[in-house]
Every structure is written in structure tokens, then in C-alpha cells.
Symmetry: C2
Subunit: 349 residues, 2 copies
């Protein structure tokens, strides 16, 4: 089959690889219907995270189950399924605590599972899913093709934006600012809106993204960054800042922006994969009683809550996709996102 590999900085290749095979009795083979490129895929693409050896890449996909192991109970051949951006069993204590990203038996796409069998990357034609009954969520019937982009966001960005909002404690009446206008930041706006935030400020400089931000529920846009951005945001909320800031980028600058924009006693919900090595300034947090909560989003735990709203057209997170390409053009998908010609690219094998 065809699958995507990263060879190094800005070197993405679609290559022939072995077809996956059932290996453990509890796994499944999924034929990928749609996949996408994640903002976090750009870290190795840009060389910020080094790639020492070529490896399979991609961790967001939906598809149709082609084969299941003998011990798979819930998932059936022919099911249309959503996979989260990681594998998990949904039965261990951490999964039951709502933190399936810390599954005691889980793993990552494009790497060996804990039994030593390979779990394919998501940007390919097929994926072996180690814990089929845990990781996969079947939709009721085959979804309308028009809904597939929104369904696909439940594999990562919509669930991740939701996690930012939950981690920040967004609830009815909260005031919120969102740092980052990528797909996750936009989904954090949508998540804040559905959780009842009364005012949502999008920090964005791009007209097209601002438009989606407003469509998703943003009430205001701030274009400034750094000290000017902090000052502007604070001024909008009585000089002290909003209740909650959602950090959806992962740089030292974006976290600094978030921590200094939120009001005393407020909370920073963060989901940006930390890059750059800057640690959190405890004295600044302590003096202003600013909490920081978040991490690698347990999106599998959120699919059951969010999927019905996607299927009912109540939320339309698939709007974050602004480019669709065949899998054969995966290298162009990366380039378009790297060069900010696209917010998020959907790939069709």
C-alpha cells in the first residue's frame, strides 16, 4: 500500500510499504477514507524536531474497517470509524479517569505497539489499530460525505480545542481569549462557544481565519501580539484581563502571551505541544494566582459528546479545512501548511 514517510526537514515522501496484517486478536485494519496534516507534524517538517531516520507519519484519520481480530467485540467489519491521534484501550484506570492519552497500554501511530507489532501512520491507505475496541468509535451508519471533514476533526483538532476549553474551565458566562488561530485555536473558539462563554476574543492577524473565528463564535478579534496584545486584551476586560486564556500554539511567546493576558485568579488552558524548552514562570503564576492546566488532549474521551453535534450539524468544525488534496500530493499538503497557504489540509487516499 502507499503511506507517507518523513525523511528529514521538508522531505515528505509517499512510498510503497507492506500492507498491515492482523497480529494480536484485538486489532483491526482500517482503510483510510480521509486523513490530514497536523500543526504538530510541522515541527519535524521544519526540522525543529530532528528526524534521524525515515519514519511513517500522520495521526489523524477516519476510515472503514476492513478486518478485525478474533477478540474484537464492539467494532465490526464495514464500520465507519474515527481513530483518535493515539491508540488506547479505554479500560485502564487512566482511560477511565478521562485521560486516554495516558493509557497504560496505549501507543502512537507510526510506531510499534507494546506487543512489538507496528501501528501504521495515519497518512496512508491503511492502518493497523492495536486496540480496535478502545481506540475506534463507529459512527451510526455511514456518514454523509459532506460531514467527513467535521467527523475527521474529532480525531484531533476539535477534541483538542475542546480539551483546551475544559482545561481552562470554560463554562457558562466565562470570558475567554484564544492565543493561536490555527485549526486548534479555531476549534477552541468553537468549543468555548458551545460551553457557554459570554465573550471570546480571537488573537489573529489573518482575515480568512478571523472570518472562521467569528463564524465559530468569536465576539472580538485582537491583531496585536506581545506587550501590545497583552495590553489590548487586558483593556477589553476592565484592565485586568479575561477569566481564561486558551494557549493553542506551543511556543514560549504564545504561553507568555497567555499567562500575562489572563486576569488574576484566572486559568490558562493549554494544548499547544510545548516547543522551545521555556519552562513556566512559577513566581509570575504564584503572584497573580494564575493556574495552568492542559496537555496532550484525550480526544478519544470526547468523541461521544461531540459526535452527535457534528452529525446534527450543530457544530461544523470541518470548516478549518481550507484545502483538500489527494494523498499523492501529501508533500504539497505539508508545504501549503508550512507556508501558511492553508490552515489545514485534508487528504484523500
Amino acid at each position: 500500500m502507499l503511506a507517507t514517510l518523513i525523511y528529514g526537514e521538508r522531505d515528505i515522501r509517499l512510498e510503497e510499504v507492506p500492507d498491515p496484517v492482523l497480529s494480536t486478536g484485538i486489532d483491526a485494519i482500517v482503510r483510510v477514507v480521509a486523513a490530514c496534516v497536523c500543526g504538530s507534524d510541522l515541527w519535524p517538517y521544519r526540522g525543529v524536531v530532528p528526524t534521524n531516520d525515515p519514519k511513517r507519519i500522520g495521526h489523524e484519520f477516519v476510515g472503514i474497517v476492513e478486518a478485525i481480530g478474533d477478540d474484537v467485540k464492539k467494532i465490526k467489519i464495514g464500520d465507519f470509524v474515527i481513530a483518535p491521534f493515539y491508540d488506547c484501550d479505554m479500560t485502564c484506570t487512566n482511560c477511565e479517569n478521562g485521560v486516554s492519552t495516558s493509557c497504560l497500554n496505549g501507543g502512537w501511530w507510526g510506531a510499534d505497539d507494546r506487543s512489538g507489532h507496528f501501528a501504521d501512520g495515519g497518512q496512508g491507505e491503511r492502518v493497523r489499530v492495536p486496540h480496535a475496541d478502545g481506540s475506534l468509535v463507529a459512527t451510526p451508519g455511514q456518514p454523509d460525505p459532506a460531514l467527513i471533514p467535521s467527523v475527521l476533526t474529532l480525531a484531533d483538532v476539535m477534541g483538542t480545542g475542546h480539551h483546551a476549553a475544559l482545561s481552562g474551565g470554560v463554562t457558562h458566562g466565562s470570558t475567554v481569549a484564544v492565543v493561536g488561530d490555527g485549526a486548534v485555536g479555531l476549534c477552541a473558539i468553537l468549543a468555548s462557544k458551545r460551553l457557554g462563554a459570554s465573550r471570546i476574543v480571537a488573537m489573529s492577524r489573518h482575515a480568512d481565519r478571523q472570518a472562521i473565528a467569528f463564524e465559530f463564535g468569536a465576539t472580538d478579534v485582537v491583531e496585536e501580539r506581545g506587550e501590545a496584545g497583552i495590553k489590548h486584551i487586558r483593556e477589553m476586560f476592565g484592565g485586568i484581563g479575561p477569566d481564561i486564556v486558551l494557549e493553542c500554539v506551543g511556543t514560549a511567546e504564545s504561553m507568555d502571551q497567555a499567562i500575562k493576558s489572563v486576569r488574576p485568579g484566572g486559568m490558562v488552558g493549554y494544548v499547544g505541544v510545548p516547543n522551545g524548552g521555556a519552562e513556566l514562570p512559577i513566581r509570575t503564576l504564584f503572584n497573580r494566582n494564575v493556574g495552568v492546566n492542559g496537555g496532550v488532549a484525550p480526544v478519544r474521551n470526547y468523541i461521544h459528546e461531540l459526535l452527535p453535534e457534528v452529525l446534527d450539524h450543530r457544530i461544523n468544525p470541518g470548516r478549518v479545512f481550507d484545502l483538500e488534496l489527494p494523498l499523492t500530493e501529501v508533500a504539497e499538503a505539508y508545504a501549503a501548511m508550512d507556508e501558511r497557504r492553508a490552515t489545514k489540509v485534508l487528504l484523500r487516499p
Copy 2:
């Protein structure tokens, strides 16, 4: 009058200073009935925080109102009052948001207020309180003398322990570990118990403090620290750790202990004044979805909730005092706490 000054490392002196005078119309003069030494007073005492010039010290006191400014409305001469460890107006946005330690018009004992008038330190005979109607809470009538130690803890340590528990999100059924067995750590145990925690582990090596911990509601004690302590705590909670760890010390080691002991998706509530300059390890927090929340405790906001329980003998946080001295022996009070001969010392002017 007599008041305590710190001159430098291990140099505490009681000296004659000018009597405070009403200065702004909204202030009050309080005759101190009981004061105490805070764990955070030990940082300058030990020279960890340098003292460049002699200065007044002490920030926890209760007393009787001797004089009030013309514009004071709520507080009356003769009231027995509790002062939080800072001055605040209780009318600004931050105070109304529950974060009176970030009062837009507030200040600290032993320093000038924002109008340039001195607010005395708490370890003395009298204190000018800048915002009398904001900072001070009058008890209903004069409290039973036996209750004064517990009432005094509402000025700082009991409210601070409560803030740790609230910041960590302790609620009915939570599992909790507390790092630090000083007065604040012990109060955090008591606060967790009254908030409904189902299991509370005290990390303590001192038999006398362990005894108070059990009296306050601890269900278990762990004596190990560092890696051994982390391993022991995790093992007690299914190998993954408790829901919440309360950090009540303020060193890099204690925060590391807290972050690594809590379960994935858990929360560290912290109130230890950060010393040593170690920042928070964002990647460790991110990977395990561990949140960190807390800061300088807005104890003024908690007095109304906690005071009735103190007056009804439902909670007895005054048990943290294990030594009582006249104000004239304030230097010995510091030495006793520094040398761990006492957990917390009550001073009577």
C-alpha cells in the same frame, strides 16, 4: 509602642517605634491581641531572601479596634477583628473575583500603603490598617480566649491551606496527598477533609506533626521523600497516584515531588511561596496532563466561610500552634521555628 524588626540573617529585634496614627479616613488602629510567625518569615530570617535595611516584619494578627477613620462604615471601635496577611479593599474587581491578594488598591504589612502612609507589621503592639472596612472581619462579640489561636489561623495558614485545596480542586471523594507538614500543610489536610476528600496522605517525618495530621483527617502517612516518596505515593493509588497533590512548602524539591506524585490528569494545588528559582517543567506537565494552580492565598475571601466553623468548634486549626511566647521573646519564636523546635509560634503582645 513595641514592634518587631528584622535586621538581617537570624537578627530579629523588638524595638520602640512610633505609635500608628489614623491618616486617611478609611483606616483603623488595631491593638494586637495575638500574632504569629509565618513559615515565609523564615526565608528572610535564614537569609534566603536578603534584608538590605532593617524593616518591620509580621503579617498575621488579630486584635481589638482602638480607633477608626471618619469614613469607616462597617468596623467599630471595640470590635475583635481578624486581619488577613495583606491589606485589601474588597470592592475592586479582583477582590470581587475572589482574588483579594491582587486587590487593585491593596498592600502589605510593614510597608507604605498606596497613599504613602505606613501600614505597620503584625508582630507589634498596634497596626494601622489602611482599608479597615475591606481588610478587617469582626467576630460576632469577643471570642472565647481559647478560640483565639484558631481564629488567628484565618489570617493566613488555615485560609492558605484552604486555598491549596480549592486550587487543587478537592471535592467530595477526591484522593489527596499533601507535601509539607508545616502549619500550612496541616491546614491543607484539614481543608481537604472538610471539602470531602476520601483519602488524604500526609507526607511527614515528624511524629508530633503526624499526630496532628491524623487529628485533622489524614488517613495515611508517607515518610519517604524524593523518588522513594513518589513511588510509595503512586503505589498507594493503583500505581498512578492520587487525584490531587497539595504543595505547601515552596522549594523546587517539593514541587517536583508534587508534580511527579499526582496521577495523569490530576492537579497540583500549590501555596508554598516559590523559593529557589526553579520554573515549572512544562513538558512533564503536558505529557501527563497535570495542571498547576494556586498562588498567594486570598484568605480574606475565605474568612466568612471558615469563621463559623471555628467558632462552633467544628474545626480546630489552632492546633498547629505548639508554642506560645510573649512578644518580648519574638527572637526566640523565630529561632524555635527555624530549628524546628516548634511548628508555629503564637505571640502575645
